[in-house]
Symmetry: C3
Subunit: 154 residues, 3 copies
């Protein structure tokens, strides 16, 4: 049997595993925030989700709400940005970067995405959210460049 | 050349590969269900998709339909939950868990997500869908906890 | 310390890393196209994003626009298709396929998704977009079949 533990024993891969798990958990947290706003704002998407799904009341709560939609946009933005980070970051971690350089990438990305969520949900005035998004985006681009430099094979 | 087959020879990794592929295929199935409902309900999102995209008829079928929107919410929910399972599960499988514990996680998750889709599309009365979602969510959280315990390196 | 570089030294894995990075970058490009259309069409989703968020003007630009929505559907379609390719492709690359077969899969998928975006945004008449989507879909199904054949362990 192969020694799978060899990957997780590698320092760069451990750093990647840590930060990738943190940002994926942060993304999963959005589901809870959506549920919280749906219940507190009484704005549901499915008839069967409504607390009292009978009569007139039902129609009133089967609606969209600006706060719920904001959380959902934030969740989708996470999918659009954290998924490429996960994928490119995995390949980057396997391409043999320096530990310090890799940690710098992972830490900046995780920080930028946590600040992005705070900026989105508060909401803070722009360009705070835009900057957080851009910083995370550039980290992923930088890792992609290094993956292609190490692995390019068309 | 490195022996890539060593990973796929590992029992835990093979179990992960099997269940990850199953849930990703399940997620891909949603595209077909969406297409089926769009055609049967005559509800399209793009003018060029309409069977007879001329005149009055066109306007009538460029619309949203409750059943199509339900499938699309289910698909998005899959993205929001199966993607973290794939990512966290990969790191978990590489962190050297017991085969029996790993299989338990993967099987419960796959079962929960298949039941979730059935509950969403039937639709079954709540809390059946909510429970399926919650079980899958907890499996991913449990794997994330074990990844962080094995790999934590901030 | 384990030699992580052994994975990236494998020819199949390098081909996977290259094409996976290319399609993830293509997906990330959609964020820029969305931003471009939001600004040029003056159609924003968040009040704080608007250039002059005061008075009447604000209400006018807090709206949806057909072109913006088209790009967003394209982006979501990428998530629904490129994410399974990334996941299934990774497992496929680790299951020890022939280099030439693997390259064929990766090249067809990358080409199909790039043409899909062109067909979606131009937009080209159907079935061009549908065909591009279907080709990419079948590549992922073919890889999934080979992963299950190599790894099946329920």
């Amino acid at each position: 049997m192969a020694k799978l533990t060899q990957l997780i024993d590698n320092e760069v891969f451990r750093a990647y595993a840590t930060y990738a798990t943190i940002v994926l958990l942060k993304m999963m947290l959005m589901s809870f925030i959506t549920a919280y706003f749906r219940i507190s704002r009484k704005a549901f998407a499915n008839p069967e989700d409504m607390p009292a799904s009978k009569g007139e009341n039902a129609k009133k709560v089967l609606r969209t709400d600006p706060d719920v939609e904001r959380v959902r946009r934030n969740h989708l933005n996470d999918l659009e940005n954290i998924v490429p980070f996960f994928g490119v970051g995995l390949l980057y971690a396997l391409s043999g970067p320096e530990l310090s350089t890799a940690l710098l990438h992972f830490r900046i990305f995780a920080g930028a995405r946590i600040l992005h969520t705070i900026a989105y949900l508060t909401p803070l005035p722009q360009p705070s959210r835009g900057l957080c998004w851009g910083v995370g985006y550039m980290v992923t681009i930088s890792m992609a460049y290094q993956v292609l430099k190490a692995a390019l094979s068309l």
